[in-house]
């Protein structure tokens, strides 16, 4: 399937967008999961703090109870040391626990219950110790046996254990969630990476496909170009071969025509020479009025024969002219051509200067482009070609307007160049565009002397150089003759051999 450049742009853009989206998802997920990890971590810290505070509080309570029991048992102040120690710490522990519990749902109720129970227990402890110090040990024991402190303590244990268990559960939950987050991050990254790899792969594949197509198209194009150049070269060679054949044919034909023509002309002269004494004789001799035969003979010798010989002579002279014209053209093809470097602008300017006098008489101007290239070709042929074209332009100028001749060049494929000789002369009717290049054919009003050889001659010369000539023209407006030449004639000559 061929990929157009717009498809390529759209496909690549879509793939890039997909890749960007995948990347954004990964980054977003990472940020979010990072945040969640932070939360979980804070949660874990809080739970651990709460757990530690609860255990500290419980230990302090137990220490206080242990000190009270020891004192009640021994009545010795020494045993009261843990109790005093605990009483000093208890308040700060209780404060910390209350603070921590405040941030928990339902924590206020629990901390209130703990505070109440702790107050009851501490009251009981204080009371028994006070009674014991006052020497009323029985009353103290009685108070202990009343189980108030015992119950409060047991309530406290229960409450504190609940808080610890709650903290443990929160710890476990947070760790589990942390694991989930890590796993989610892992999968998100993995899937995102896969998506990005797919996108990059897809883009690369599309680009490779497209590049391959471009390379293929380029190859096809260069093949086409080469074929085109080959065809131009082939066609040029064909044209030149045909031209050469026509010239050889013309050469042979004209030579074969010449031989009998020499006889016709020769014997006509002989005949003329023979008639002369007969005529002289006939003119001198008297002819009797009734001698019909003699007067017929006289008429034939003095009028009919000289007239017939005269027509034969004029016709053979005309034929001779035509044959010479054909010979001239065929000789052009046989003249060896020599490639040399020619600056076309200089050469054409020189050709223009050569007819400056005639052009000036018509108020005319010849404009030669100054950017014409230098080519390798036969100078004599080019001189004749452009000299002929310029002569024609002057010869067939339109008298109603000043003559304008413009010579310009254009580069063509196959290392060729076209040179246009454009005039504003009387122009050539469309029917005659091909005919003007034929031998002995002329176009339009036959107001100027000429044999109809010029353009046929020009075409032969151009084709000899591996080129061709065409005309575009509008009657009454002007004509443009386009001479197409090989920039390097040697290549063409090489292809001919």
């Amino acid at each position: 399937m061929p990929i157009s450049s717009s498809t390529l742009v759209r496909t690549t853009a879509a793939l890039m967008l997909a890749g960007l989206a995948a990347l954004l998802v990964i980054v977003g997920m990472s940020l979010w999961l990072g945040n969640r990890s932070q939360d979980h971590f804070n949660e874990v810290l809080a739970a651990r703090d709460l757990r530690a505070a609860t255990l500290d509080f419980r230990t302090a309570l137990q220490d206080a109870e242990t000190g009270q029991r020891g004192f009640l048992l021994t009545q010795d102040e020494v045993y009261l040391a843990p109790y005093n120690q605990a009483r000093q710490e208890l308040e700060s522990h209780r404060q910390r626990l209350t603070n921590l519990l405040q941030s928990r749902p339902g924590g206020d109720a629990i901390s209130a219950a703990i505070n109440d129970a702790a107050a009851v227990k501490l009251n009981e402890l204080e009371e028994t110790i006070r009674l014991a110090r006052a020497g009323n040990r029985e009353a103290a024991l009685e108070l202990v046996q009343a189980d108030t402190g015992q119950i409060a303590m047991s309530d406290l244990r229960e409450l504190l254990t609940g808080v610890v268990q709650d903290a443990d559960q929160r710890l476990a939950e947070s760790v589990a969630q942390q694991r989930g987050s890590a796993s989610a991050l892992y999968w998100t990254s993995l899937i995102g990476a896969l998506v990005i790899i797919a996108v990059v792969g897809g883009s690369a594949w599309v680009v490779i496909l497209y590049t391959r197509e471009i390379a293929e198209a380029r190859r096809l194009l260069s093949t086409t170009n080469i074929t085109l150049e080959e065809r131009v070269a082939e066609r040029t060679a064909e044209l030149a071969r045909a031209n050469e054949e026509v010239q050889r044919f013309a050469y042979i034909v004209t030579h074969d025509l010449r031989a009998p023509l020499v006889n016709i002309m020769g014997f006509t002269s002989e005949l003329e020479a023979s008639i002369k004494p007969i005529r002289d004789y006939m003119e001198r001799s008297d002819v009797a009025g009734d001698d019909q035969l003699a007067s017929d003979a006289r008429l034939a010798a003095t009028e009919d024969l000289p007239e017939a010989v005269g027509f034969i002579r004029s016709s053979t002279r005309k034929m001779d002219g035509l044959i010479n014209a054909i010979l001239k053209i065929s000789r052009d093809g046989r003249r060896p051509i020599r490639a040399e470097s020619i600056d076309l602008t200089n050469m054409l300017q020189a050709s223009a200067n050569a007819i400056q006098h005639q052009v000036g008489e018509l108020d005319g101007v010849i404009d030669v482009a100054d950017d014409l290239p230098t080519i390798l070709s036969d100078r004599m042929s080019l001189d004749q070609i452009f000299g002929n074209l310029l002569d024609n332009a002057v010869k067939y100028a339109d008298a109603s307007r000043p003559l304008r001749i413009k010579i310009s060049g254009e580069k063509l494929i196959g290392n060729r160049i076209a040179i246009d000789v454009a005039d504003n002369g009387r122009g050539i009717a469309a029917d005659d565009h091909e005919r003007v290049f034929e031998l002995f054919r002329r176009s339009g009003e036959q107001s100027k002397p000429g044999e109809g050889i010029g353009l046929a001659h020009v075409r032969t010369l151009v084709r000899n150089l591996g080129g061709d000539i065409t005309v575009t023209s509008e009657l009454g407006k002007g004509s443009t003759f386009r001479v197409v030449l090989a920039r390097d004639m040697r290549r063409f000559i090489g292809s001919m051999q």
Binding site: A259, V262, M265, G266, T268, N324
Partner: protein, 148 residues
């Protein structure tokens, strides 16, 4: 033309009888009265020049001047020229190539092969007649060696 021992014979090889006749007429007008033997094809001309055995011995003691056209029906005048100049019995005979061809290469080739004069036939009769007459005058003063 020198005619001490044996008179010079002009061998004219020209396929066009009209041309042959016009050439003969104009040579005669120049005052040349030597025998002219016309041939209209190469084969009979070669038979005359080299004899039936082709050795050329028949021409050993002849004084020959050859007028040669290049366009012949049975062979090229060039090959006749080649044979004449290659044979020891005929190689000294002057050969005048008189033809319609004005091709530069052809002219060079003829001189390379030993042609003595090359003349292109002018098409118009005045020129033609004039050229032949001048050729005749030339004949009347030139020395022709014995062939061998």
């Amino acid at each position: 033309m020198s005619s001490e021992a044996k008179p010079v014979t002009i061998v004219m090889i020209e396929d066009d009888e009209g041309h042959a006749r016009l050439i003969e007429k104009n040579i005669r007008r120049a005052g040349v009265s030597n025998e002219i033997i016309p041939f209209t094809d190469g084969t009979s001309a070669l038979a005359h020049l080299f004899g039936s055995d082709g050795s050329g011995d028949v021409s050993a003691s002849r004084h020959l001047l050859i007028l040669l056209d290049l366009n012949l029906p049975d062979m090229s005048g060039v090959s006749i020229l080649e044979k004449v100049k290659a044979n020891p019995n005929t190689k000294r005979a002057p050969v005048v190539v008189l033809t319609t061809t004005d091709d530069e290469r052809e002219i060079q080739r003829c001189y390379d092969l030993g042609a003595n004069v090359y003349i292109t036939k002018p098409v118009n009769y005045e020129g033609f007649a004039n050229a032949i007459r001048q050729l005749g005058l030339f004949f009347s003063v030139m020395q022709i060696p014995e062939s061998a």
